[in-house]
């Protein structure tokens, strides 16, 4: 579903996408080297937020508002994944 969005200067979106991409790389680095599983869960939670921010910049570049549906789905899935991983690690600790 296309809609009218203000045309921004091109460099703003490029800079924003570069910053968020650098953040994704740093977060993936933390997921790779995280000493404990909790660090990895925290980094995964942040990674979902970064991907949602990248989807919002995609709405600006393509004026295709339905990317917000994907952002909503990612928010729900990230919350459920975090809760499920926390419960799993908690039961694993108690055994």
């Amino acid at each position: 579903m296309f809609s009218e969005i203000i045309q921004l200067p091109n460099w703003v979106l490029i800079i924003a996408q570069t910053l968020i991409g650098a953040g994704v790389l740093l977060t993936v680095w933390r997921i790779a080297i995280g000493p404990t599983p909790f660090d990895r869960i925290v980094a995964l939670d942040l990674l979902a937020a970064l991907i949602m921010a990248q989807l919002v910049t995609l709405v600006f570049t393509s004026s295709f508002v339905s990317y917000l549906d994907a952002a909503t789905a990612i928010a729900v899935i990230a919350f459920i994944a975090t809760v499920a991983l926390a419960q799993y690690l908690e039961t694993k600790e108690n055994i």
Binding site: I15, A16, L68
Partner: protein, 128 residues
């Protein structure tokens, strides 16, 4: 004029997202990383959604952006609380191990020992 406001909001949101991931990489402790990731990440995302609402004030965009912001701000503290409680009660957390070791000592110098422990932990470079 509207373009400038929207651009400022987008750049601020992306900067906060980058600050959150820098905090996740550079902080010395799991709880500090949790602090950086939860607050700055949610704030950056909500700034970018606010920019979208300013740029395209149609009912669908407004409702869906407000729903995403509301859901994120409702669920991020719950997830952070779960992870923080799990980290605090865990055995392989450095933070929890240091605290339990200090409980066995005398209570007199508990505060100075805590600050010493925190300073030592912050200054050791091999801890990240």
């Amino acid at each position: 004029m509207l373009e400038i406001i929207v651009s400022i909001f987008i750049l601020l949101g992306a900067g906060f997202a980058l600050i959150a991931s820098i905090g996740v990489v550079r902080m010395p402790d799991t709880l500090c990383r949790l602090h950086a990731a939860t607050k700055a990440g949610a704030f950056g995302l909500s700034l970018m959604l606010l920019a979208l609402v300013i740029a395209n004030p149609s009912p669908r965009t407004i409702i869906q952006s407000c729903l995403i912001i509301l859901f994120f701000y409702l669920t991020a503290p719950i997830a952070a609380h779960l992870i923080g409680r799990l980290t605090h009660s865990s055995k392989h957390s450095h933070h929890a191990a240091g605290n339990s070791r200090k409980v066995d000592d005398t209570n007199k110098h508990a505060d100075s020992q805590t600050t010493d422990h925190r300073n030592a932990e912050l200054s050791t470079p091999n801890n990240r």
